[in-house]
Symmetry: C2
Subunit: 204 residues, 2 copies
């Protein structure tokens, strides 16, 4: 209406400093945009016309790249699943002393914020049939990882599995309680203390 799409340059030359001025989009651009929108406003807010406005085009563009809105969600979710985690877990595994891994892992996850935004949003969208399998796979992988860590730290197999589930449940629950519910706006020091408490009671 009032915000006529300002197109600035097409396919900016490589040597030019990329001041993200292009307006000609690829499928990946749409997927990234979708993930950003999901992180900010939840899966329910992922509408093609809204996303198009956000990207400065109209949906005429969208339907060139994707057959349907569902296809976009699918692609975005797969993209997220692909590029998630990996690094952190790999680095943790590289620590020799198994019992030293948990403090490091907990502190690590506790202090990165951005990646959790999407995860929290997806947690709130577990009604949606498309996100369930993705979250299922991701959770399973992470629990498997934790189980292995606990086993290597000396817990017998069954205990290791239970402890892993407990740990991961605590993680998920924490996200729910603090990200989406804003439970009493915990302070920074208090949060650190909480993490340390968690480390103390959860490492074998």
């Amino acid at each position: 209406m009032d915000c006529k799409p300002r197109r600035l340059r097409y396919h900016a030359p490589m040597n030019e400093g990329a001041k993200n001025e292009r307006v000609r989009l690829s499928a990946e651009d749409w997927e990234d945009g979708a993930l950003a929108l999901i992180a900010e406003q939840g899966v329910g807010a992922l509408a093609v016309e809204a996303l198009a406005r956000r990207l400065g085009v109209t949906k005429g563009s969208f339907y060139w790249h994707f057959r349907t809105r569902e296809a976009l969600l699918q692609a975005a979710l797969e993209r997220w699943e692909e590029y998630g985690e990996r690094e952190v877990l790999a680095e943790i595994e590289r620590i020799p002393d198994p019992r030293k891994r948990f403090p490091e892992l907990f502190r690590r996850v506790a202090h990165e914020v951005q990646p959790h935004r999407v995860y929290a949003a997806l947690l709130k969208a577990l009604d949606h049939p498309q996100v369930v399998p993705v979250m299922g796979r991701v959770s399973q992988r992470r629990i498997d990882f934790l189980t292995r860590m606990y086993a290597e730290a000396g817990l017998e197999p069954v205990s290791a599995l239970h402890r892993a589930r407990l740990t991961y449940a605590a993680y998920v629950g924490f996200l729910q309680l603090n990200f989406t519910l804003g439970l009493p706006r915990i302070s920074h020091e208090e949060f650190d203390a909480y993490v340390e408490h968690m480390i103390a009671t959860l490492t074998p």
Copy 2:
């Protein structure tokens, strides 16, 4: 269309065995129906025409009882908040030995299923602005309760608060992971073992 509303009797006499044949509805009936629908299909599925079909009437009835769909949701949520918990927590508090309370509490909550359905559904609907305050209040109350229990069991105030948060987070996360995500369909014995593990690592 094909399911013409079968009306059976109006205001069945008191002495008659209540075989829920009435079709004349009250606001409470709508609220209960809403909660049932939420438990089964989530908050997003709460649509007035759908609910009306479910109750065997049309929405013409609905708008006599409620001004808007939003009002129904609000009423249903308040009703749920009102009639929730209470009993369990009170009974737990009656156990003299503080450290014996946790096993009882955990086993207790672990084995009731139905009340968790609504809670799990609400957890998935934390996008919705109307459910956030309700969940906030409920969670806060429960965490307060846990904090008191832990304090009475000998933890110093700060530790008690942290332990309470951890416990409640584990609870919430467990609901997410198992109810809505159907993580690998845990068996009955395994579940009991998990609960016992939780008791062991979480009671001071």
